[in-house]
C-alpha cells in the first residue's frame, strides 16, 4: 500500500461488527506465523505491514478470524513464546502504529484478530525476572517467580520438552536458588500465588484489548499453579484464575474470545470451559491424530470413539479444531500403541519426530494426495467446532525437516513463483529461513498466484468449501449425532441447528465403498447434495444406500419435499 496511513481512529471491533457473543462459534480461524507470512519492508522477515497488504487475500479466502503467533518483544529462543515485554512487539514486526493500522484494516474487512498470549511464564530476559532474581526483602518482584532452595519439590510434574530438558528446576547463580520452569530453562514460570502477578497479567490483557485485539489464544494454561503431590496440571487454582480473567474480559470488553491451549484428554479439557465462565474455546487435541489414524487404517472407528468420549460442553463454548498447526503433530493424547502406529506410518525418517510428536505439514503427511487433503478438510469442517487452518496448508505447502526444532513447518509463505517465493524482496541470505525449493513442494510448483489462476486448484476448492460452510451456521452451532452405518470405513453423522439438518458421509477407504444408513427418522425428506445442489432419491423407511468414491464424501441437507430443488 502506498497510502501512508495516519494514526487510525479507534480500531475497536465494535465499530465494524454487529454484537454477537457467539461469533467465534461460526468463525473460520486462520493461524499465521507473522515472521513467515509477508515481508513488507524487505528485511527478510515478515511483519505487520506485510500482513496488512495480504488482508485482501485472507478476506477473499473467507477467513473470519486471524490467529497470530506471539509477536511480542522477545529474544526468540522459543519462537516468541518467551515474552520479554507484554506491551511491546518485536522490532522485526514493525511498530505499534503498524499494529493499530493492521487491526483497523482487518476489522474493516470483517475479520477479527486474536493473538497468542503466554501467561504461564516469561522469558528470562523479562524485566520482571531480572528484578526477581535479585531477591531481597523489599524487592516487590521477589515473589513473581517460583523460587526454591531445593530442586526436590513437585517431583510428580512431568517434563514436557523431553528432548532438551532434564528437570523442571534450574539453578540461578544470581539469586543462588532454583527456579521452576515447565518448559525451557530460559522460560521461568510466573508465580500465581503472588497477587501482583494477577494484576500484571490482567493489565497485559487490557493493553491489547484496548488496542482492538479480539481475544487471545492462551498458551499452556494448565500449568499456572504448582502444588505438592500433584502433577501440577489442571489445578483448581488455575481454573479460579481463569474465571477471574473471563470476568474481567466480559465486563470490560464484550465480544472478545479466550481460546485455551490445553493439550489434555477431552474430559480434562472441558474443565477449561467451566460452567461457561472460563475459556470460550479450547482446542480439541486428540481428535486430530485419530483422523490421521483413520485415514491410514481406512477405518472410521478411531474418530467415532474419540467423539463418543468427548463430553458435552456449555452452549456458549466451542471446540477449536485443526489438522495441523505451528507445533508438532502432538501424540501425547494417544495410547502408546497408537503412538507407535503413528510414528511408523507418518514419521519413517527419525528427523520427522520431535518431543512426543511429528513435525510435518499436512500435505507431506498425506503424501500430497489431493483427495486425501480434501477428505481431511471435509471431516474437519463437518465436526462440531470451529476449524483453524494453518497458513500455507490451503495451497498444500510442504515442510523442511532439516531445519531445527519446529522451524521446518514455519517456512515462508509461497506467494508467487518469483524470487523468494514472492515472500520478500530481501536478498536470499537475509531471509529468516529459506523458502521451500524442492521440486514437489517448492515455491515454483506450489504458490498462491498459480493456484488462483487454476480453477481446479486446492486453493480455489478450499475457498468454495469455506464459503459453503459459512452459509450454514449448522456446522458451527448444531448438534453432532453419529450415524454408524453398515460399513466401518465410512464416517457419517448428522448436524442439526434451527431448520437445517445436514448429513455428512465420508469414505476413509482408498477403494469405493457402499454404506447403508438408518435415516428412518427423516423419512420422506430428500437429501440435497450441498455443492452441486443435486437432489437424491427420497428417504424411505428402509436403510438408505449410498455409494462413495475412494476417499470421497457427500454433504447433504435433508430437505422437506417442497423445499428441495427439482
Amino acid at each position: 500500500m502506498t497510502g501512508i496511513a495516519p494514526s487510525p481512529r479507534s480500531a475497536s471491533p465494535s465499530h465494524w461488527f454487529e454484537s454477537d457473543p457467539l461469533w467465534f462459534k461460526k468463525a473460520l480461524f486462520y493461524e499465521i506465523h507473522l515472521r513467515g507470512f509477508y515481508d513488507g519492508n524487505a528485511d527478510g522477515s515478515g511483519d505487520f505491514r506485510g500482513l496488512t497488504e495480504k488482508l485482501d487475500y485472507l478476506q477473499w479466502l473467507g477467513v473470519d478470524c486471524i490467529w497470530l503467533l506471539p509477536m511480542y518483544a522477545s529474544p526468540l529462543r522459543d519462537g516468541g513464546y518467551d515474552i520479554a515485554d507484554y506491551a511491546a512487539i518485536h522490532a522485526d514486526y514493525g511498530t505499534m502504529d503498524d499494529v493499530r493500522a493492521f487491526l483497523e484494516a482487518a476489522h474493516q474487512r470483517g475479520m477479527r484478530v486474536i493473538a497468542d498470549l503466554v501467561m504461564n511464564h516469561t522469558s528470562s530476559d523479562h524485566l520482571w525476572f531480572q528484578e526477581s532474581r535479585k531477591g531481597g526483602e523489599d524487592n516487590p518482584y521477589a515473589d513473581w517467580y517460583v523460587w526454591s532452595d531445593t530442586d526436590e519439590r513437585y517431583r510428580d510434574a512431568r517434563i514436557i520438552f523431553t528432548d532438551t530438558e532434564v528437570s523442571n528446576w534450574s539453578w540461578d547463580p544470581v539469586r543462588q536458588a532454583y527456579y521452576w520452569h515447565r518448559f525451557f530453562g530460559h522460560q521461568p514460570d510466573l508465580n500465581y500465588d503472588c497477587a501482583a502477578v494477577h494484576e500484571a497479567m490482567l493489565d497485559a490483557l487490557r493493553f491489547w484489548l484496548d488496542l482492538g485485539l479480539d481475544g487471545f489464544r492462551l498458551d499452556a494454561v494448565p500449568y499456572l499453579y504448582e502444588r505438592e503431590n500433584t502433577n501440577c496440571e489442571n489445578l483448581e487454582e488455575t481454573h479460579e484464575f481463569l474465571r477471574k480473567v473471563r470476568k474481567t474480559v466480559d465486563t470490560e470488553y464484550p465480544d472478545r474470545v479466550l481460546l485455551a491451549e490445553a493439550n489434555q484428554w477431552p474430559e480434562d479439557v472441558v474443565a477449561y470451559f467451566g460452567d461457561g465462565d472460563e475459556c470460550h474455546m479450547a482446542f480439541h487435541f486428540p481428535v486430530m491424530p485419530r483422523m490421521f489414524m483413520g485415514m491410514r487404517r481406512e477405518d472410521a472407528t478411531p474418530i467415532y470413539e474419540i467423539l463418543d468420549r468427548t463430553p458435552a460442553i456449555p452452549d456458549n463454548c466451542q471446540w477449536g479444531l485443526f489438522l495441523r498447526n505451528h507445533d508438532e503433530l502432538t501424540l501425547e493424547m494417544v495410547t502408546d500403541e497408537e503412538r507407535d502406529y503413528m510414528y511408523s506410518e507418518y514419521a519413517n525418517d527419525p528427523r520427522m519426530k520431535i518431543n512426543v510428536g511429528i513435525r510435518r505439514r499436512l500435505a507431506p503427511l498425506l503424501d500430497n494426495g489431493r483427495d486425501d487433503i480434501e477428505l481431511m478438510h471435509a471431516i474437519l469442517f463437518s465436526l462440531p467446532g470451529s476449524p483453524v487452518l494453518y497458513y500455507g496448508d490451503e495451497i498444500a505447502m510442504g515442510d523442511n525437516i532439516f531445519l531445527g526444532d519446529r522451524d521446518g513447518v514455519r517456512t515462508p509463505m509461497q506467494w508467487t513463483p518469483d524470487r523468494n517465493g514472492g515472500f520478500s524482496r530481501a536478498d536470499f541470505a537475509q531471509l529468516y529461513a529459506p523458502p521451500l525449493m524442492d521440486p514437489v513442494y517448492g515455491y515454483q510448483a506450489v504458490n498462491v498466484e498459480a493456484q488462483l489462476r487454476t480453477p481446479t486448484s486446492l486453493l480455489r476448492w478450499m475457498r468454495r468449501f469455506i464459503f459453503l460452510r459459512k452459509e450454514h451456521p449448522v456446522f458451527g452451532m448444531g448438534t453432532y449425532e453419529p450415524l454408524r452405518g453398515t460399513n466401518h470405513r465410512v464416517f457419517a453423522h448428522i448436524r442439526r441447528w434451527e431448520d437445517d439438518i445436514a448429513l455428512c458421509v465420508h469414505n476413509l477407504a482408498r477403494s469405493a465403498q457402499a454404506v447403508e444408513l438408518d435415516l428412518s427418522e427423516f423419512e420422506k425428506r430428500y437429501p440435497e447434495e450441498m455443492f452441486g445442489r443435486t437432489r437424491f432419491p427420497q428417504i424411505g423407511e428402509w436403510p438408505y444406500l449410498l455409494t462413495l468414491a475412494p476417499r470421497g464424501f457427500f454433504w447433504f441437507l435433508l430437505k422437506q419435499g417442497d423445499e428441495a430443488r427439482g
Binding site: F17, P473, D500
Partner: protein, 448 residues
Amino acid sequence: MADPGALLRAVDGDALGEWMRGRRWFGAKAADMTHFGVLDVVALREQAPELSCALVEARYNSGVHDLYQLLVGAHADGSLAYDALADTAEAAVLAQLMQTSARIDGAEGTVSFHWTGAAPALSAAPSVRSIGAEQSNSTIVIDDALALKVFRRLLPGDNPELEMLRFLSAHGFENIAALAGWYEFTGDRMEATLGVLQRFVGGARDGWELAVSEPEAFLGRAQELGEVTGRLHSVLASDATDHDFAPEEPGDEALGLLVATIDEEIERAFFELRDDQPVVAPILGRGEELRDRLSLMSHQSAGGRLIRQHGDYHLGQTLVGGEGWVILDFEGEPARTLPERRRKRSPLRDAAGMLRSFAYAASAMDLIDGREAPAGWEAEARRAFLEGYFSAVEPVLMPAGEAAIAKLLAIFELEKAVYELRYELNNRPDWAAIPVAAIVRLLDDQLS
C-alpha cells in the same frame, strides 16, 4: 402513557413478518424466514403520537439473520403504525431532529442526528412527498429542497453513502447532491448509519431517461459525463492522508483475486442456466469457453491504483440539468456486504458499469419503446464517454498502456455482464438478452 418499547416488544411477530414481506425493500424470500422480532427501540418522541426507531430482526431457517430499521408511529386509535414514514406529516420530523442536532438516548442505544449546514433551513411547516422505495431504502422529498434517504437493512459500520458524500464535499467535488445531514445508531448491538439528508436536485433529468427517450441529445452530453466521472475518481484518489480513501498500489495477487472471483461467478451463472430458456441459447454450453477467454485477458499485471469508487455506477444514478451532471447513490450494490462495498478497486470498474448501462439503454429503446436505437449509438456513447473520462482521470490511477487499460475494462464489463445475467434470469427474464448479447460479443471477438 404507554411505553412504546414495551408496546413494540409485544408485537405479534407473524403480523409484523407478514407486513415486512410486503415491503419492496425487504429482500429475502418468504420460504427462508422463520421469525420476526423487535430487538432495540429508541423513542424519538414520547408525547402522543409516539414515534420510535426500532431495530427489527428477520431470522432465516439456516439460523442467520438480517436487521432492519423501522420507524414506528401510532395510529389515531393508539395501535402501532409499522411505518411512520408512510405518514408524510411524520417524515419531516427526522429532518427537523437533524437540524437541531438532537441526541436521543434509549435503554439500548443512542440515535444521534447531525446537520452539516450545507442546506437551507427547513420551512416551518415542511411539505413532504415520497418518491418511491428502492431495494434497500426509502426516499422522501421535503420542501422540494431536500431528499431524505432512510436505510432499511442495517449493516454495522459506516454506510458508504455517508462516507463518500462527506469526503467528496470536503474535497470540493461539486457534481453531487450536497449532504445536509444524517442520523445514526450507536448501541451495544451495533453502530450503523440510519439515513442521510441531501439537497434535492429539482428540474434535472434522470440520465437513463434522457438516454432512452432522446438518444441523440444524450450523445451530446456523454463526453461531459465521462469527464465528471474522471474527476470523481481523481478526487476520490486525492487524499493520501485519509486511511479510508488513500489510493493503494495493487498487491501481487490483486488481479489474481479479481479474476478468480469472476471465474467462480461465471461458473455459478452457467451452472444455473436451463436449456428450456430460449433467451440463453446463444451462450448455452459456452461457460468453459468464457472462462478460457477470461484467463487470456488476465495475463498481465494489475497496474494502476486501487481507490474507493461509486460501486454501483450506471445511468440511473445520474441526473443532468442546467448545472451539469449530478451523481447520486453512493451506497454501493445493496446485495453486497459492507466490507465488499468499501473495498478499494480499480476505478475502471465504475467506468465499465457505465458502459454496460449504455448497452442497456440501447436495448431498452427497443424493449420499452419498440424502436431501434440509432445506428452506432452505443459505440458512439462509449467513445464519447471514454474520451471524456480519460481526459479527466488522473493517469496514475490507470494501468500502463492502452492495451492494459482495454483488457482491464473488458474484465470488469464481463464481471458486470455475468452479474446481470443472473439478476435478469431471476427477476426480468425478458431483459436477459442484454447480458447474453454482451457475452456473445466477447466470445466472438477476435483476440487482438
